[in-house]
């Protein structure tokens, strides 16, 4: 089974990378490095693909972020839930797909399936490496925004389906949730769908993370920064 390297030495050394089918929640306050960490974890390594569902940034901005993190954009697909509301005529391409707004879970689900199918067909990038099943990193940025548009119960069901699909295709899922914006019940329900939780806190402008759910990795807080897609841990 494929292992997804995180680029975080403490995790990769202890686990050898995340197992295929892992779903990881980044639980973080506003103005933290959560997004940078998500890009770092979702950045496709050689032979891998990344799919980002973006509810906050346009597809072009997502690609810029991946490029800044050192990713080859030909292996990155974006489902953009922003652009179509202002530009209704924007057309889907193989790697960029659009839904009108984050309300449209039907559209999001279909675009996700279409993109995964293209990756499985071997026609996504034109530079396929032939690994099968193709390793796919998937990120929802962010679950918080989806929760603004749909009820918790519905979103729970939607995420249940998405996390199950990720397991089926042996992918790796990353989901960002704002820890300050939702009550305990919401956070705990979303956590239920995850294999691993990375919690972030900010103290005096410094970011700290701790990892929960991995055997052999303690839940101590680590001070960190993200630079050019690499997680740097302060010793």
């Amino acid at each position: 089974m494929y292992s997804y390297k995180t680029g975080i030495p403490q995790i990769d050394q202890a686990t050898g990378g995340f197992d295929a089918g892992t779903n990881l929640l980044i639980l973080a306050p506003s103005l933290s490095c959560a997004e940078d960490l998500a890009y770092s974890l979702t950045r496709p390594l050689h032979g891998e693909y990344a799919v980002m569902l973006s509810t906050n940034e346009r597809a072009s901005e997502v690609i810029d972020q991946f490029k800044a993190a050192g990713a080859d954009k030909q292996f990155v697909g974006v489902i953009d839930a922003i652009t179509k509301s202002s530009t209704p005529t924007v057309a889907d391409t193989g790697r960029f797909m659009f839904v009108t707004n984050p309300t449209d879970l039907t559209g999001i689900g279909i675009k996700f399936s279409q993109m995964i199918e293209t990756i499985f067909d071997g026609t996504f990038s034109g530079k396929e490496t032939g690994l099968f099943p193709p390793p796919i990193r998937f990120c929802i940025n962010s679950v918080s925004t989806l929760l603004m548009y749909r009820k918790l119960e519905v979103l729970y069901q939607f995420l249940h389906v998405m996390t199950a699909k990720l397991k089926k295709v042996e992918g790796f899922g990353v989901y960002i949730l704002n820890s300050e914006a939702f009550d305990e019940k919401t956070v705990s329900l979303i956590k239920q769908l995850m294999t691993i939780v990375i919690e972030i806190k900010v103290e005096r402008s410094d970011n700290y993370f701790r990892v929960m759910g991995i055997r052999g990795v303690n839940a101590d807080w680590h001070k960190f920064t993200v630079s050019k897609g690499q997680v740097v841990i302060a010793l």
Binding site: K84, S85, P88, T89, A91, D92, T100, N101, T103, D104, L105, T106, G107, G109, I110, F112, S113, Q114, I116, E117, F120, R150, K151, V154, Q157, F158, H160, V161, M162, K165, K168
Partner: protein
């Protein structure tokens, strides 16, 4: 009748959807099934009927663009009679009302007004957001004859997170005249889409499941793999050639001059609005290691036997056992019915070891009608098979 706008589906429904029906297209999350309702929408618009599209998940412009992209055709105000209630209307209703009841009344008033002003005959509604806003009962009431014109046809698309039990409960309550569930599976093929006609109020037909492809803006029912197997010289290559419009065999001349298949037969046909691909196996036992590969992902199997050759029955029995382990629909075709020394159906059944549930056809593989009868039976079994 209203045409569903989809190849093959009207036939399965007995000619289409009766006017005044209430129809549910239920989509499992992630299944590429939006074209089902859009196909029906086009069919109605092109017939000149007046429609209302309730699209609370999107704006009119984005919807029209999406429809154009999906179907390869656009909805034109000058050619088509269509009114909309979209996400902008939903936001306005949310802003202008303070309670759920008030919002419900406002929706009802707007639907009524649009239906009256535009003499709407068919209503198309995307249900899951209405369901979320008002709950199941009130949501269904908004898209029922309580709120819409009494003789109107109502077509609803719903993103179903609640699975088959939800649909079964709607079927039991007879909430809809037609429930068509659109689903996907990773078996027998990855990213395999199919639809199931779960319930119709106007016919007592059995539940039917049919795989489909989306091609050039249309839903095309298809069967990606039917395998034709059997003992040597039972007529498999002839069967595939008679059945298909396009195809080829990988054969080698035998010592006595007869060609024998050494890899496989392959053929394609478009029949009864289905796209079907046939794979014929070699019959010689030395090719048996290939059988699992060819049988992999098959949706149905034709076991061909020579009805005049008793010596082949042991080999046919062996193949029958291999096939039945696969749990796929199976039909036995006993070939060469026009030659002397024909065995009876009972003798063939006993020789192969089939039960009464497996259809046995006496055929001549040279007769296209005989071959098509075998395929018809198998396609019927496949469409009733629960994946």
């Amino acid at each position: 009748m209203i045409s569903s706008g989809m190849f093959g589906i009207d036939d399965m429904l007995g000619g289409g959807i009766p006017e005044g029906s209430r129809v549910l297209y239920s989509l499992d999350p992630g299944v590429d099934g939006q074209l089902f309702m859009i196909s029906t929408l086009f069919s109605v618009l092109e017939k000149g009927q007046s429609c209302l599209a309730i699209i609370p998940h999107t704006t009119v412009d984005a919807f029209l663009h999406d429809v154009g992209q999906l179907r390869g055709k656009t909805i034109q105000a000058k050619d088509h009679r269509i009114a909309f209630l979209d996400s902008v209307d939903r936001e306005r209703i949310q802003r202008s009302t303070t309670t759920r009841e008030a919002a419900e009344r406002e929706w009802q008033a707007r639907i009524n007004k649009l239906c009256t002003d535009n003499k709407v005959e068919v209503i198309f509604g995307y249900f899951d957001i209405i369901y979320e806003d008002f709950g199941l009962e009130k949501g269904l009431k908004l898209l029922s004859r309580d709120c819409c014109p009494p003789d109107s046809t109502i077509i609803i698309e719903h993103l179903n997170f609640e699975g088959d039990t939800f649909l079964e409960s709607l079927g039991v309550r007879k909430t809809f005249d037609l429930i068509l569930a659109i689903k996907s599976s990773f078996r027998p093929l990855p990213h395999f889409n199919y639809f199931t006609i779960l319930y119709t109020s106007w016919s007592a037909q059995l539940r039917r499941s049919v795989p489909f492809l989306v091609r050039n803006g249309h839903i095309v029912p298809y069967i990606p793999k039917i395998v034709v197997t059997g003992p040597p010289e039972s007529g498999k290559s002839r069967f595939v050639a008679s059945a298909t419009e396009l195809g080829m065999s990988v054969d080698q001349s035998g010592l006595v001059g007869e060609a024998t298949t050494v890899a496989m037969d392959f053929g394609w046909l478009h029949w009864q609005d289905f796209d079907i691909t046939l794979y014929g196996t070699p019959g010689q036992p030395r090719f048996d290691p290939m059988l699992p590969v060819i049988l992999n992902n098959a949706m149905g199997v034709v076991l061909l036997v020579d009805a005049t050759n008793r010596d082949q029955l042991a080999r046919a029995r062996h193949l029958y056992k291999i096939i039945t382990r696969r749990h796929v629909p199976l039909v036995v075709a006993a070939n060469k019915k026009d030659l002397p020394g024909l065995m009876s159906e009972e003798e063939i059944r006993k020789g192969i070891g089939t039960g009464k549930n497996v259809p046995v056809f006496l055929i001549s593989a040279h007769q296209k009608d005989d071959v098509r009868a075998v395929l018809e039976s198998l396609v019927n079994s496949i469409t009733r098979f629960i994946y």
